[in-house]
Amino acid sequence: MIEALQEAVGWTGPPREDVIERRHLAFYLHAIGATGDEVPPTFTACFLDEPPSLPAAASYGSGWLNGGDRFEYHAPLRVGDVIVSRPRFTGVVEKNGSAGTFALLTFETEFRRPDGELVVRHIGRRIRK
């Protein structure tokens, strides 16, 4: 029911605080086939709410697909950095495609340092069908 999703716009997930840990970074770099020890551009994906835990999503379709991701970089991340974030459900539209009707949901997550400095802004488009 698209109405339940529309009513849920504005939902926020639980706040979280994460530390860029060297061992976690090494696992991630290995998993994406990368070498080196710098924080790669998509590392904050590890701190996203995937698949989204939005309760209202259960009312529409039976599965998730990823429609797209946008990362905006405002400051570098290094091992030892602490970042805080909280996913926010910002919009939904219902569409008709070749594979039928689906809902396109948009989530925004800002990753900030504890003092408030914006580091990465992520916009995710997720499909529910």
Binding site: A31, T42, E50, N66, G67, D69, E72, Y73, P76
Partner: protein
């Protein structure tokens, strides 16, 4: 001055995502959606095989750009749109080119192809060079 002409092609990057890598990525990223490692679950959703995480394909495109930049600058924006699914054990090739450059900034067109040449992943990036490229 760096030497990066407009319309320059970026060296391609090919990765074949195995089940092991799907599981490693799920563990590292925390995305344990069953479509990526549970074949019965993937088939219950109508997919023929285990799908590669979209964000793993985004990570490959991020690598394409940062390995090409090789310390000459940094990413300002990375944007990816998933237009088709990719499945395990099939080669996925990331490609890109510089489509415009002004002062110390450039815009890149990016895409990922499956092993039939179909562009399953479209993207773009904005980069900022540490030094202004030579004309």
């Amino acid at each position: 001055m760096t030497d990066i002409p407009p319309l320059a092609d970026i060296p391609p990057l090919t990765e074949t995502t195995t089940l092991r890598r799907l599981v490693e990525y799920a563990g590292a990223s925390g995305d344990f959606y069953g479509m990526h490692y549970d074949l019965d679950f993937a088939r219950s959703l109508g997919h023929p095989e285990l799908a590669v995480h979209g964000l793993l394909k985004a990570a490959y495109l991020g690598r394409l750009v940062t390995e090409w930049l090789d310390g000459r600058g940094r990413l300002a924006v990375l944007e990816v749109s998933y237009r088709g699914m990719d499945f395990r054990d099939r080669a996925h090739t990331c490609r890109g080119r510089v489509v415009s450059a002004a002062a110390n900034r450039a815009e890149l067109e990016l895409w990922g192809e499956d092993d039939t040449g179909r562009r399953t992943t479209l993207g773009r990036a904005e980069v900022i060079y540490d030094e202004e490229p030579s004309p």
